[in-house]
């Protein structure tokens, strides 16, 4: 029995000894490194080429259409959404050029944005000019003249029209769009190759914003 245990112990010791770990030869890395395949970008197979070409054409066409649409959308303010116009007319935004002088505001807008906003020097006593700023909407430049009518805020938005559109040549204007929602009225018209929009927050007198230029505004509408 003891001899058997002695043999078992001896076998265990021999197995540990004969199967002990060894150190790998130093040259192994070079051998592996030389045989290591380099990563190669897979060449596109022949059947894939037409598919790839079609995809490229489709993507290019899509980009072209998108680019053309985006250009069309910035031609003038008429294509800016009412929601965007209300956002630009937000009185809390502040003015880049604060002033109550109509001539200075006109000059500043002309100099900075090449938009002519003719503001009458005399107007209703209820109107107070606050200043002007320029906003860019997808490439279209819009001049925003902020003012108040009594306690109510108003903004005159003006942008240049493109030559493609039928401009109203005279100084008279017809409203192309009248929209009242969200506590703010929007009146839009074209005149002298420019597009105009008044955003007015007066709830009791929706046409009060016209007092900026017309002392008798309600009567004109």
């Amino acid at each position: 029995m003891e001899e058997r245990k002695h043999v078992a112990d001896w076998i265990e010791t021999e197995l540990h000894r004969q199967f002990r770990p060894v150190t790998a030869p130093d040259a192994l890395w070079e051998r592996i490194h030389q045989n290591r395949p380099r990563p190669v970008a897979p060449a596109p197979s022949v059947w894939r080429m037409p598919v790839l070409a079609t995809l490229v054409v489709l993507i290019s066409a899509g980009l072209f259409v998108e680019l053309r649409n985006s250009r069309a959308s910035v031609r003038d303010m008429a294509q800016v959404t009412d929601q965007e116009l209300r956002l630009f007319a937000d009185p809390s935004t502040g003015q880049t050029f604060p002033s109550d002088d109509p001539a200075k505001i006109r000059n500043w807008i002309k100099a900075k944005g090449n938009i002519d906003v003719e503001l009458p020097s005399s107007r209703s006593a209820a109107v107070r000019l606050l200043g002007a700023r320029l906003v860019s909407v997808r490439g279209a430049l819009i001049a925003a003249v902020a003012y108040t009518v009594g306690e109510d805020s108003a903004t005159l938005l003006v942008s240049r029209r493109t030559a493609c559109c039928n401009a109203t040549a005279g100084s008279r204007h017809l409203f192309s769009k009248v929209n009242t929602s969200g506590g703010k009225s929007l009146f839009s018209w074209d005149m002298k190759e420019q597009t105009y929009t008044i955003a007015y927050a007066g709830a009791n007198d929706p046409q009060g914003g016209c007092l900026l230029c017309h002392a008798d505004a309600p009567g004109r509408l």
Binding site: E3, R4, H6, V7, A8, W10, I11, E12, E14, L15, H16, Q18, F19, R20, P21, V22, T23, A24, P25, L28, W29, R31, I32, N35, R36, P37, P39
Partner: protein
């Protein structure tokens, strides 16, 4: 922990950036482990180098597919075990006999006769293990070269831990049967000597 962090960092660098320095560092970290298994399984240094090379080439080619939540050691062990099973050349021996014999002669406090007898018995162990089926031979290698537990070996070879225990037990029994007479004779000679 430091080793695990290093290993994780190396694997990340190999996977994310194919960093050549990371591949080299990973090789340095595991080369002895892989080569030892290959050598102890095949018994032939040339074959062991072939197996090691194949294992590392598979490792480098497939490391991108290694899932980070898996156990890297287990994955690596499976690579080398499969490479061992795949190698076609038949092993002729487990250790170079001359090297083994010189090891015995260098051991202090033994007579030349004792060493010759021990070498003879060691030769019997080698000849017995050589005749084992590949799976049993691999169990011996993973157990005695790597010192892995039954559970770890079972996970690598894809069989229950009980199977590993019974395989090892069977090998021990075979070795005991074949060596008991020789061991007794060796002990007797030592007593007389």
């Amino acid at each position: 922990m430091v080793l695990e962090d290093t290993e994780r960092d190396l694997i990340d660098r190999c996977q994310d950036r194919s960093d050549p320095d990371a591949f080299r560092a990973l090789f340095d970290l595991y080369k002895d482990k892989i080569y030892s298994i290959a050598l102890r399984y095949s018994g032939d240094p040339a074959v062991a180098q072939d197996i090691t090379q194949e294992t590392f080439l598979k490792l480098f080619a497939g490391i991108g597919r290694f899932r980070r939540e898996s156990n890297f050691d287990s994955w690596l062990y499976r690579l080398v075990v499969n490479a061992c099973f795949d190698q076609k050349r038949k092993t002729r021996r487990f250790m170079p006999l001359v090297d083994s014999f010189l090891d015995f002669l260098r051991a202090p406090g033994r007579s030349a006769l004792d060493e010759v007898l021990r070498a003879e018995m060691s030769g019997h162990i080698r000849s017995v293990v050589e005749t084992l089926p590949p799976e049993q031979r691999m169990v011996i290698v993973l157990r005695y070269t790597e010192g892995l537990s039954y559970e770890e070996i079972a996970a690598i070879l894809g069989c229950p831990a009980g199977t590993i225990a019974s395989r090892l037990n069977r090998v021990h029994k075979i070795l005991e049967r074949r060596l008991v007479r020789l061991a007794g004779a060796n002990g007797g000679k030592k007593t007389r000597g």
